[in-house]
Symmetry: D2
Subunit: 462 residues, 4 copies
C-alpha cells in the first residue's frame, strides 16, 4: 500500500480542525482533513448551533411581531414550519458552499470522506468508500468532536435527537403539537423554548433538581422564571421507557420520587448529553483518554507532542468557538515545531444559552469563586431601567459583573435577557484581558443600547 | 431677596447634569438642578435618542417581518403610525416616572423649573414661574445642552424639526406620504431611513457632497449604498426657501449648481445641525465661549475651577453617553475639591448612526490617522460570511478594525450593518483600554454571533 | 472644654495618615493629624525602612568596593560606624525638614503632638503636653501603626530593638563585634546581613524551621544559601532568657530540641515581630479589633463608614507603601462622602526583603497558588547568564514569574539577587494590571540590564 | 560546487540573528549563521554595550566609593586601568564561552566564519578561509549590523573608535590623561563620562548645537548640566583634520563659527555615528536599501517575503534588545510560513544613555508629541525628594511621564539620574501595554525605592 505523507492530518473537519488546517496550508504545509461526512464545520453546522439558531431567530422575530402587534404593527402572522426548515436548510447549504469554495481556493489541502484510525503515532489509516488509505503524518490533530449520548432506556430509538431536528433536510417535517424534551441541558432547554414560541406545547423532563446542570445556580435561578410559562418543566424525573402509542405518538414512562407516571407527546427529544468521539487506535498508541475525552492541557498537546486534540473531543469547553481558538493554538504550536507558542485560555470563553430569552456568562461566576475562596464584589444592572429593553418591551433580566473584591479586576459576568449573546462579548473581552471596574466605569457605553448596563453595573461599585 | 446655598447647582438636568447631581447628593452635598422644562434627561429623552430609537426599533421589526414573510412567518402587517407614536410616548412617560421616583427617593437634591443665569461666578439667579430665586453655589455645572439650529431660510417656520417629530405627544400625527429632509447629518439621515421603512417616500437634501459630514468618508462610503434605495438623496444642494402649497403641503426651493429647482412634500424636516445653549451671564463672568460651546478640557473645568461644563454645551462629543461620563468626571473633580481626580476621554466614545442599517465607530479611523501621520493595519470582516447575518438575511456591511501598524494596538474601528450599535461597545472597550490585535485574536468570540467578526478581523492580520 | 471641628482627624501621621491628610487639605477640608512624636512619616522614617536602608546601602557599597578591589579599583576601605550612623541621621533630618516644610506650606492642616483616644465615633480627645484637646470629626483615619513586639522573656530589657538601632541618634554607637539576632523575620534577617557585611560576627536564632516565616518557602529556599555564610543561623530555637554578662555583654539562654544552651554576644537584637497599636477607646465605640489589628476591607472603612483604618494598624500589608496607597484610598472614599470610590488591592504589593543580597516578590507565588488550586506555568531566568550580573560579579539568584497556566496572565513573581527591589516594580506593575506572558515576551527589555531577565523568563514559556 | 540546503541562513550572528536561529533550530529547522568574526552576539559583545558597560559600572563604583569616603567608608582607592580592561575582557570571554556552549548544545545549527553575499533571492555564497560555500536558503535573515562611520577627515586614521576602546584585548592599554571625543552622540558622550570619572581630562567636540542629536531636546537639556563639569564640551564645532604631534599625541584641527582652532590630546575618539553594513548582492536581488539601511516594516520582511532584515542593518532602532525582539518576530514569521504572525513595535523600546549619570526614555516624548499634534499631561517627580536618592547622595534628575491629555494613557517617559536604566523598564512596560495614569497611581510602588517616583509622578495629575 502506498503511504502518503502529510505535514498535518486532522481527524475531523469541524471547528477544532479546519482553522488549523487552513493556517498550515497557507504556510505551505501539506494538509489532509478526514471527516466521516466529508463536510467541513462539524456538528455545529450540520446539526448544532447554526441550524438551531436559524430556528431560534425565526421564533424570536415571531415573538417580536406578536409583541408589537399592539404597538403599531398590527396584523396576523402564522407559522409555516416547512418554510422555517427550508430557511434553515438554505443557511446550511450556503455555508457548505462557502466552505467548499474556500477549500477549492486553497492549495495544499484536501478533505477526505472517511474514518480515521491510528496505526502508530505517526501513521493513520483512513477507511474510505474506495478502500483504505494510509498517511504518514508529521502532526495529527484529533478533532473528532462529540456525539449525542443516547442513554440505554428502552424505546430510546423512538426519540428524536438534535440530529433529527436540525440536520439538513431534517427528520422532523411538521411542527408537533406536543413535544416532550428529555434533558434540561442547554440543547434541551433551547429547543423547548423555540418550539414553545412557535406554538408547540412542550414538557421538559429533567433528572436533577436544577436545569442547566453544571452552570452557576445563581444564573439559572434568574433565567428559569423568565422562560415561557407554557413550558411545563418537571425536575427530579427519571425516564424509564419510551414507547410508540397506537396513534403513532410517543409515550414516556418515568418515575418521580416514589411515583411512576407517563406522558404522551407527538415527538420526544432525547437531549441528555453528548460524549466525545474517540478515534480508533488512540488508546493503543498511548493517548490518554478519560470519560471526558482526550486529555490535553492548554497547549493542546497529548502525550505525543505532535498529536493534538482540539474541540469537543477533549471535553474542556465543548463549544464551536472554543474549538476554533483551540485549533489556532494547535496550529501555532505545530508551526513552532511542537514547542508551544500559544495556549488556550479555557476560562474566558463566552457561553450563551440561546433560550428565549437567552442567558450568557463568562469567566468566574459566584459559585466557582466561592469554591476557590475568591471574595467578589458584584456590580448589578436591571433591564427594568434599560431604555432599549423598554423600547423593545423586554425588560426582564439584567447584567451582573463579578469583580475581585480588592483589585476590582473583572473575573466574570452574566447577562440574562436581551442582547445576552452580544453583551457577553464585551464582558468577556474585558475579563479575558484583565480590565477592572475602574476601567469599565470610565468607558462611556453607548446610549441607548443595553451595553450601557455594563458601565452602570461597574459604576454601582463606586 | 433670600439667597440659598447649594454645594452644587446644575444648569440643565440632562445627561451632563443629573449623574453628577445624584452622586454629590449621595455624598451629602446639597444640590439644585435647574431645567427650563423641569424635567430630567434633557433632549435625549424629550426629543432625541430615546423617542427616535422607539420609532427606529419598531421600523426594524417591521422590516424583519417583511423579510421573514417568505421564510416561515407569512402574514400581513400594516403600520399604525398613531400607535407607534403612542408606544414612543409610553416609553418617554415611563422614563420620566422613573426619574421622578429617583428624585423623590434621594435626599439633598431638588429640581427647579426655570431659567438660570449667572450673576457672579458663585451666584446664579433662576427665573421661575413664581419669580426669581437666587443661589450661592460652591460649584456649578453648566449642562444646558444644545438646541436645533434653524438656519435663516425664508419659510423655515413651515418645517418640522426633530422636536416636532419626537417630543411627547409629537406634532406629527400621521405618517406622511412624502417627506423632505433638509440635512444629511445623523439626525436627518436616521429619520429618513425610519420613515422610508414605514412607507414614506423620502427625499434628502444635503448641502455638501458627503452625507454625515465630519465622519470618516470611508465609513460613510460603505454605509451610503446600503440605505433604502427608495430614499432619494440629492447632494450639493442649497435650500433657498420653504413655502406652504395651496394644498397645505410644503414646497422647498433649492439651487443645485447653477440650477434652481423645487420639490414638494407633505412635511419637511429641518435637520441642518444643533448649537449649544449658553446660559445667560456666562460670558459676563469670564467663561470662554466659542462657536462650538463653552471651552473646557478633559477635566471639564472652565476658567473658573469651580464651574464645569458637561455635555452638548461644551461641543466636544455631543452624545448623551458622553455627557453622562463627563458629568461623572465633573462630580469626581468637585468631590476632589476642584482639584482634578478624573478626566474625560473624548476620543474613545462609541458613536452609532442609527440608520437602517446602522453604522457605528469609535476611536481613530483612517481619515484621522492619515491626518496625524499614524500608520495603520486594518483588520476586516465581511458580514457576507457571517452566520448570524445569514440567518437574519442581512448580510450587507461588515467590521473594520484599525490597529497601530507596529504595536498592533487597537486605535479604532467601525461596524456597518447588523448589530453595529452592540459590536461597537466591545470594540470601544478594547480600544479605550489599550488592547491589541494579539489580544483580540486570542479571545474566542461567541459563535454564531456577529462578534465573531471582531476576532476574525483581528486574526486577518496574522 | 472647647470642641474644635475637623473634617478629618488622623490618629498617627505616618504613611497611612499624611497622604490622605494632605489630599484632603488641598481639597479645602480642615485636617488635624495627631502623632505621639509630633512627627510625620511614622516608624518608617523614625526607625524603619529609611534608616535601615541608609545602613544597607552603605554596606552594599562597601561590598562592591571589596569585590572590585581585584578588578581595577585597588585600595583599602575601612568602616567608620559613627559616620555611617551620622549619614543615616542626616537622611532622617533632611526628610523631617522636608515634611515640616510641606506641612508649613499647606493650609488647612495641623500636626499635634499627643495621644488620641476615641470618646464617641465622632469625637476624639487628644492628650497633649498642654492638656487635653477635643475634636469633633466628620471623619477619622486610624493610622496608629505598629510597634515592636517584645516577648515576655526574662531579660528582654537587655536587648536592643530596631528602635535602638535605627532611630535618630541611635542607642547603638559602635559596631559590635558579636551580635545575636533573635528572630528570622525580615527585620532580623536584614539587620543580620548589614552588620555581617560591615564586619560583625552575627548569630541568628529563629524559632521555626524556616526563615522569613509566612513568605513563600520556595523563595526563602533560594535566598537562604546566598546569605553571607559568616552569619550563623540556628533554627528551631526557643530563647528562654537574656542576661548581662559580667563583662557587660549579653548572654542568651535557649533551648534547641531537648538541649539547653547559651550564646554570648556584645548586643542582642530582639526582632520577633510587630503588633498593631490600637488607639484607646476604639473597641468601646464598636470598632472591630482582632489580634491582627483593626478590621477593614478594601474600602478601608471600619464598621463606622466615616472611620477608616490604614497602614500597619489594620494588619493587612504592613509596609509603608501599602499604607500610603491605603491612605489615598481612604482619602478618595472620604471625598466621595464615605461612599467608596476606591479600593486597596492588598494582593499586588511589591515586597522586598532588603537583605544582602535582597529578595523581592509580588502577587501570587507557588505556595499560595497551590493552596487556592490555581495551576501555574513558571518562567525562569538565572542571573548566571545575566550580563549586568556578570559585570557586577554578582551572579547568584534569578527571576521567576508565575503565570496562570492557560491564560498566561502574570499572577506573581519573585527576584532573588541583584536589582531585586527595582525589578519587582516592573513585575508588580505587570501583575497588578493584568498583563500576560505574551505581553512580556513582546516587550524588548533593555540590554544589558537585569530587566532583560523578565522578558527572557516570559519567553521561556514559548 | 555543492550547494547545501538551509531552512534559514542568517547573515550575521548578533542580536538580530541568533535568537531566530536558535528558535528555528529548536523547531527542527536547519540553520546556518554566517559571521565575519565567527562569533555570536555581534558588536554588542565585541565592542559595544557589554564591554562599555563593564567600564561604566567600574567607574560608577569608583564614584560611589569617593562619595561615601566621607560617609562612613574612608580609604583610598586608585584606578588600575589595565585591570579594569582585564575585567572587561573576562566578561567578554565568559559570554563567548556561554554562546559557544549554547551552540554546541543545540542541534540543527552551525556558525560559519565568512562573508555572505546574495547570488539570487534563495542562494547565498559564503566566502570562508577555506573557499566559497553555497547555500540554497528557504529563508534568509539579514542581520549584518552596523559599523563605525569614519568621516573623510584627513588624519581620521589617527583616531580611535569604539572598536579600539572596547574590543577584547583593546588597543587602548593605558588610561589617557587627555582624551578628545569627536561626536556628542550616545557613544561619544557615554565614553566621555566614563573616562572623566576615572580621571581623564576629556574634551568633547560636537558638530550641532545639541548633544545627543535626535533625542528629545527637553531630556537632553535636563541631562547636560548633570554631566561631570570637568568634561569640556564644545558645540557647533567642525573637525577639519587630525594629526600626530611630535610627542606622539594627537592634534585636532577644527573650526568654530568663523574661527579655526586646534586642540591637543593623548587620544582622540572618533564617534560621529554608525552606518549599516549591507551584504553584497542585496541590491542586485532587489532588496530596497536606503541610507538608513535595508527597508522593512514591522513584519521585518523585505520585498522578498522570505528575506528578513533585523537589527542595526534596518536602521529602525539600532539597539541590541530591539534587534533581539526583531529577530524573534522574524522567527515567528518564518515559522508562520512567511505569513506574518508577529510584528515589531518600534516605538516602545526602552533606551538608555549610559552616561554617568544616565538618562533613559521610552515611547512618545514631548518633542514628538508636539510634532504629531498629541496633547499631553505630564507627571513629574524630582529625585531631590527621593529617599533612595538621598541615601545614595545622588539627588539630581528625576522622572517625567507623558500621558495622553484625555485618556491619560501613558505614551512615554524619561528618567534622568539614578536607576534610569532600571526604571525605564517599568515605565516602558506600562507604556507598551496601554496602562494609564489611573493604573499607575493605584499601584503601590515599593518604598524606599526610586520606583516610588513613578507612582508619585502619576499621582501628581490627580
Amino acid at each position: 500500500m502506498t503511504i502518503q505523507y502529510a505535514d498535518l492530518l486532522t481527524i475531523g473537519a469541524g471547528g477544532g480542525a479546519y482553522p488549523a488546517a487552513f493556517r498550515l496550508a497557507r504556510a505551505g504545509r501539506s494538509v489532509v482533513m478526514v471527516d466521516p461526512k466529508g463536510l467541513m464545520s462539524g456538528n455545529c453546522l450540520y446539526e448544532g448551533c447554526i441550524p438551531s439558531k436559524a430556528v431560534r431567530e425565526t421564533a424570536e422575530i415571531y415573538q417580536s411581531q406578536r409583541r408589537f402587534a399592539e404597538r403599531g404593527l398590527p396584523g396576523t402572522i402564522t407559522v409555516d414550519f416547512a418554510k422555517i426548515m427550508a430557511h434553515k436548510d438554505s443557511i446550511q447549504a450556503r455555508r457548505y458552499q462557502q466552505h467548499a469554495a474556500d477549500l477549492a481556493a486553497t492549495p495544499n489541502i484536501q478533505l477526505i470522506q472517511g474514518e480515521a484510525r491510528f496505526i502508530t503515532p505517526h501513521e493513520v489509516a483512513v477507511d474510505t468508500a474506495d478502500g483504505e488509505r494510509r498517511f504518514r503524518c508529521a502532526q495529527v490533530i484529533i478533532a473528532s468532536g462529540s456525539d449525542v449520548f443516547v442513554p440505554p432506556v428502552p424505546g430510546a430509538e423512538f426519540c428524536l435527537t438534535s440530529h433529527d431536528l436540525y440536520k439538513p433536510d431534517a427528520t422532523l417535517k411538521t411542527l408537533p403539537e406536543r413535544m416532550i424534551v428529555i434533558g434540561g441541558g442547554y440543547i434541551g432547554l433551547e429547543t423547548a423554548t423555540f418550539f414553545a414560541a412557535l406554538g408547540t406545547r412542550v414538557t421538559l423532563l429533567q433528572k436533577g433538581r436544577q436545569l442547566l446542570n453544571g452552570m452557576d445556580p445563581g444564573m439559572v435561578a434568574l433565567l428559569t422564571p423568565l422562560l415561557d410559562p407554557s413550558i411545563r418543566i418537571l425536575t427530579g424525573v427519571d425516564v424509564t421507557a419510551v414507547e410508540v402509542t397506537p396513534e403513532g405518538g410517543r409515550r414516556v414512562h418515568y418515575t418521580h420520587g416514589e411515583e411512576n407516571d407517563t406522558l404522551d407527546g407527538d415527538v420526544v427529544l432525547m437531549a441528555v448529553g453528548r460524549r466525545p468521539v474517540i478515534p480508533a487506535g488512540a488508546a493503543e498508541i498511548g493517548i490518554t483518554v478519560t470519560r471526558k475525552g482526550v486529555a490535553v492541557g492548554p497547549d493542546l498537546q497529548t502525550v505525543h507532542p505532535h498529536i493534538y486534540a482540539c474541540g469537543d473531543v477533549n471535553g474542556r469547553v465543548p463549544l464551536f468557538h472554543a474549538a476554533v481558538r483551540q485549533s489556532m493554538v494547535a496550529a501555532h504550536n505545530i508551526l513552532g515545531g511542537n514547542i508551544p507558542m500559544d495556549y488556550a485560555d479555557f476560562r474566558h470563553i463566552p457561553t450563551t444559552i440561546f433560550t428565549l430569552p437567552a442567558a450568557a456568562y463568562v469567566g468566574i461566576t459566584p459559585a466557582l469563586a466561592e469554591a476557590q475562596g475568591i471574595p467578589l464584589q458584584t456590580g448589578r444592572y436591571d433591564f427594568e431601567e434599560d431604555s432599549r429593553a423598554q423600547i423593545l418591551e423586554r425588560m426582564e433580566g439584567g447584567i451582573q459583573l463579578f469583580f475581585a473584591a480588592d483589585s476590582l479586576r473583572l473575573l466574570g459576568g452574566w447577562v440574562v435577557g436581551i442582547d445576552a449573546g452580544s453583551l457577553i462579548g464585551q464582558i468577556g473581552t474585558a475579563a479575558a484581558h484583565g480590565l477592572t471596574a475602574y476601567d469599565l466605569a470610565r468607558f462611556a457605553d453607548q446610549h441607548p443600547m443595553s451595553a450601557e448596563g455594563i458601565g452602570k453595573a461597574a459604576r454601582s461599585l463606586f
